[in-house]
């Protein structure tokens, strides 16, 4: 087990070093990430400040929604972005054959070779936003609060990771997988605002079938004290981590089953 982990971390270290080979591009990309997300956050806060609230949610509560979404998104993407974006192309060109020859599970190999270090910079930006939000909302920070925030973000990362895995799984059936384009980029902003603005059926969808509401909407209410659960009982605000883990396990099972349908196109 120790040797396996050492090999996995070696792969990730080599990948990170490869990205750093083009130094100027690496730092430009890193800084542009920070600037891009920081600017989006600023604009969102300005909008909510102008209108005072969105469906009762104050500007810094909305900022926490964005921060939780971003933090969990960066954790999930650091490991799974390459699986999501490149798997379809690798299957089409036959490069996925190489993955199957490695002495480890295909998904594990895809994760460690697709590791992207950029996302950890976003993660720290998101943590900064969480800190600002928590301060502005005058939340008393205790070890329990920190644990709740950590569980909320980890649970959200599991949910978003599960979504990425499910979308990537379709690559084994569709030659040009339409789910690995901008589809998730288009739907992720749905959870950057309170989902209580959407119709009830949509809130149910985001809580049950595709539990994106557990990424930000419910766990933020654990911290902010808001009581906005719609049709669901207040206990949902504590369920991010268990729901996230369960969803990720289901997504992994789907990916494992789908990968058995792989037919090489030659390489």
């Amino acid at each position: 087990m120790k040797k396996t982990l050492a090999v996995l971390f070696l792969y990730m270290r080599v990948k990170a070093k490869g990205k750093y080979e083009y130094r100027a591009a690496f730092w430009l990309d890193a800084l542009s990430f920070l600037f891009g997300y920081g600017a989006q956050t600023l604009l969102m806060v300005l909008l909510t400040q102008k209108f005072d609230t969105i469906n009762g949610w104050t500007p810094f509560e909305v900022m926490l929604l964005y921060a939780y979404t971003l933090a969990s998104y960066t954790l999930a993407n650091a490991l799974l972005s390459d699986v999501m974006w490149s798997l379809s192309r690798r299957i089409r060109t036959g490069d996925f054959d190489q993955t199957l020859t490695k002495p480890m599970k295909p998904l594990t190999y895809e994760i460690v070779t697709g590791f992207s270090p950029y996302y950890f910079l976003h993660f720290f930006l998101a943590l900064g936003m969480v800190a600002i939000g928590v301060t502005q909302l005058h939340v008393t920070v205790t070890p329990l609060t920190i644990l709740q925030i950590a569980c909320g973000i980890l649970g959200g990362a599991c949910v978003q990771g599960g979504v990425l895995l499910l979308f990537a799984s379709a690559s084994f059936f569709w030659i040009n997988n339409p789910l690995t384009g901008n589809f998730y980029t288009n739907i992720r902003p749905l959870i950057e605002y309170p989902i209580s603005v959407y119709p009830k059926f949509f809130q149910v969808l985001l809580t049950t079938l595709i539990p994106l509401a557990f990424v930000s909407f419910y766990p933020v209410q654990q911290i902010s004290g808001r009581q906005d659960f719609g049709l669901f009982p207040p206990v949902v605000r504590h369920l991010s981590l268990p729901v996230g883990i369960a969803f990720l396990l289901i997504a992994y099972a789907v990916f494992a089953a789908a990968s058995k349908h792989y037919k090489s196109t030659g390489s």
Binding site: A25, L28, D29, S32, L47, I54, N182, P189, L190, Y198
Partner: protein, 265 residues
Amino acid sequence: MNQVALYSLTLWYGLKSKLTYRLSSVFELLGKFLEIFAQILIWVALLGSGARFDTTLSQMVTYLILTRVVSTLFATQAGNEISDKIDDGSIANDFVRPLNFKLYLLCNDLGNNFFKVLVVFLPIGVLAGLRYGFLLPQTAAQGAAFLVSLAFGALLTFYYSYILGLLSFWLIKNPFLRWHFRNVEQIFSGQFFPIWLYPAWLSAITEFLPFRYFTYEPLAIYLGKTPVSEIPRVLLIQAFWLVALYAVERILWRRACKKVLVQGG
């Protein structure tokens, strides 16, 4: 084959290429529908049935739909294409082809984008318009000024993206740089929400940047937010930025031709 026919064919093939993977178009429609649906509902929550800050729901729905249509119609993959072509070496072929590389990219993108607008945004626009109201220009002169401003904005959008793509000749690996400059463009161009709702200090900053003249100013003319007396000034500033971006593009292209590093192929 004369040049007009050649570029028309490029445009046509760009449109036809989107028909190859129909399922992709279906999911693109679904993704964009959800995105706009969410934004409209957020504005419903913010504005309710009345008006706030001199903005009605119909104005916002019209603004959201037109912003998406315009930015989609004139979006370009020039930046990504140039970067990919440098990466795999196929850029060498584009230097020897008997057609203008820039015009080829523009026509190819227009073809792709016409398809997206027809299949994706037209249905969404019709549905949202029926439900929440879609406004037309109040006068014919306003409509004409909008079209002129829109043409300028389209060229500005293309040149901006093309210039970012040309940077690939120097920054060999910059997959995210263009995406985040795109974020900056979206913020300062009013794509997220209209600049007339920005705080005064931020609105003042946008006056000195070209981005608000990409899509916001044409739409402000359309919705009557720009006084008629101000329209000539807006068009003049758009023309100025167009000349400036054209000059930058020419300089970069000449230097890129000397700098090109073919990495294989």
